[in-house]
């Protein structure tokens, strides 16, 4: 695709040349595409910033809401699990820490997904008028979700300290795991961004999917609490290893190698499948919106 000279045009001898040719196997030439993607990264940052601003999350109360909302939800789930799981010893402060840590991370993924699903259809006019790597739109959504996620980590940190969960070097594991979660979220966001173009009711169907996905993920329970007969099914969930490793790292354990390997595989699969699917459909966006 087009490689725009983003730099200032100083003389006419270096004017950029764009060549548009049919796509091979439905995909644009990947290397120039990725180069164009990188050269326009500013767009993704600006897009996520303005999205946050339009949702008023740049104000003090907006930030407070960003933190309060998942916190309240966490408390509700904590009480719920307490009532349902009477007598099974889930009720310690360290469980609350686990619940909040996993819930906030889950919310990051689910916000990426729901924002990503809207990204292409919302950018309709821009897509109709300007040639640019469309992949920037779902990427901007993930950046938005990431910026909404980071303030909740402050709340988690407070609960972590108060609950007396150990603080050590294993916490550093959260960084690579967060990278894996981000890559995974981006891949799935790209997938849903395309689906939304073809099925506009996807966004009303998505909340149910996200709710079920939450219950299937090790958020309201620990990975080691899953009954053996369900383990095979539940461990097929990509978020099972990813959130499992995340919770282990937060709880001061070394994340299990199986989780890390599986999580990496899921993240890689999501970004490759989601990305290629997006690229293969990208040309059609201009006539489908």
């Amino acid at each position: 695709m087009a490689v725009f000279g983003a730099r200032r045009r100083t003389d006419d001898f270096v004017s950029p040349v764009h060549i548009y040719e049919p796509y091979v196997v439905g995909l644009p030439p990947l290397r120039p595409y990725l180069r164009a993607l990188w050269s326009r990264r500013q767009f993704a940052f600006e897009m996520s910033r303005t999205t946050l601003r339009s949702q008023h999350f740049d104000t003090a109360f907006g930030q407070l809401w960003l933190v309060l909302n998942p916190l309240m939800l966490g408390v509700v789930y904590f009480l719920l699990v307490d009532i349902l799981g009477r007598g099974r010893g889930n009720r310690g402060a360290d469980f609350l820490a686990h619940l909040l840590g996993a819930l906030f991370a889950y919310h990051f993924v689910s916000t990426s997904l729901s924002e990503g699903a809207k990204s292409v259809t919302r950018g309709g006019r821009l897509i109709l008028n300007t040639a640019f790597p469309r992949l920037l739109l779902p990427i901007a959504s993930v950046l938005t979700a990431l910026q909404r996620f980071l303030p909740t980590l402050v709340v988690y940190a407070a609960v972590h300290v108060v609950a007396g969960v150990p603080i050590g070097f294993t916490l550093l594991w959260t960084i690579p795991i967060l990278v894996l979660l981000t890559v995974f979220a981006a891949g799935v966001a790209m997938l849903f961004a395309v689906l939304q173009v073809y099925f506009r009711d996807m966004k009303s169907f998505l909340p149910y999917l996200l709710r079920v996905w939450l219950y299937l993920s090790p958020v309201l329970y620990h990975t080691n609490q899953v009954p053996v007969r369900l383990k095979h099914v539940i461990s097929l969930n990509p978020l099972y290893p990813l959130l499992g490793a995340w919770s282990q790292a937060l709880a001061g354990q070394r994340p299990s190698l199986v989780f890390l390997v599986e999580g990496t595989a899921w993240a890689a699969a999501a970004i490759v499948v989601g990305g290629l699917f997006f690229l293969s459909r990208e040309r059609e966006f201009a006539v489908r919106l």
Partner: protein, 273 residues
């Protein structure tokens, strides 16, 4: 068709012979599939399953179109509704890549197609301008440089910080036009968007167009206002049913086109709309 292509298929074809070619369209065909439904949903897709109804049709918008535009040409594109004019401009702009053939564009492109700017109504005019510019590949400093000029020309300085949902349709198109012409493009593509704002602004945008034409820019102008085509353009093409029917000077093309339409040189056809 003079085939000058020095380096086919290998990226930057800045061959010595092609220095003053701005746009080169070679045997371009564009096909795409689109849905009859305005808003396709999963629900209707499911309900339709039993009925074997196909709501997707393939459209052959362009069929083997070839032409060249040299730098400094103002090319008018005429044709009936649905002839493929907009598809042609979109293809040259890189928005809808061709199914067959090859398009070569030398220079920075700015587009003002049917809908123009203001893609997100919740965002302010300023944010839309910045995002549009960044998407088009401009740097922040370049947008900042032009921003003042853009809002002044559109006469919207007071409302640039307001969400675009508060704008009137005239304000929308004024801003769109202003952004497109101030991007300092080598090649400007305008699709039926000269009808911007009230009579005064229309005159102003027409003057601006004339000025740009005088600055030896390359302009591709799609319009049904045959009068504007004759006045502004140095060359014209007539697209009919996805094929290039004629490429000549504007008078000849407009004359042939109006003869084809069977309307003659009436005032309505030439009117600046």
């Amino acid at each position: 068709m003079s085939s000058l292509s020095a380096s086919d298929g290998t990226g930057a074809g800045a061959g010595a012979g092609a220095v003053d070619v701005a746009v080169k369209v070679q045997r371009v065909s564009v096909r795409y599939r689109t849905s009859y439904e305005k808003k396709p949903t999963f629900k209707t897709a499911l309900l339709r399953l039993g009925r074997r109804q196909r709501l997707v049709r393939e459209i052959e918008a362009l069929k083997g179109v070839s032409f060249e535009v040299t730098h400094g040409t103002v090319l008018g594109i005429v044709g009936a509704n649905g002839a493929g004019k907009s598809t042609l401009v979109r293809t040259v702009a890189g928005i809808l890549p061709p199914t067959e053939g090859r398009v070569e564009v030398h220079g920075r492109v700015s587009t003002l197609l049917a809908l123009g700017i203001g893609f997100n109504r919740e965002l302010s005019g300023r944010e839309n301008v910045v995002l549009g510019g960044l998407a088009a590949g401009l740097g922040r400093d370049e947008i900042e440089e032009r921003y003042q000029e853009i809002s002044e020309f559109a006469e919207l300085e007071d409302v640039m910080e307001l969400p675009m949902s508060t704008y009137s349709s005239g304000m929308y198109s004024r801003l769109g036009f202003s952004v497109a012409v101030h991007m300092d493009p080598d090649i400007l593509m305008i699709d039926e968007a000269l009808a911007t704002g009230d009579a005064r602004f229309k005159k102003k945008s027409f003057e601006k167009m004339k000025q740009l034409c005088g600055e030896a820019r390359t302009i591709l102008l799609v319009s049904h206002a045959l009068g504007s085509i004759q006045e502004l353009c140095t060359e014209a093409v007539w697209i009919h049913a996805g094929e290039l029917k004629l490429q000549d000077d504007p008078e000849t093309v407009v004359a042939a086109y109006t003869r084809f339409l069977g309307i003659g040189d009436t005032d309505t056809a030439l009117e600046d709309v």
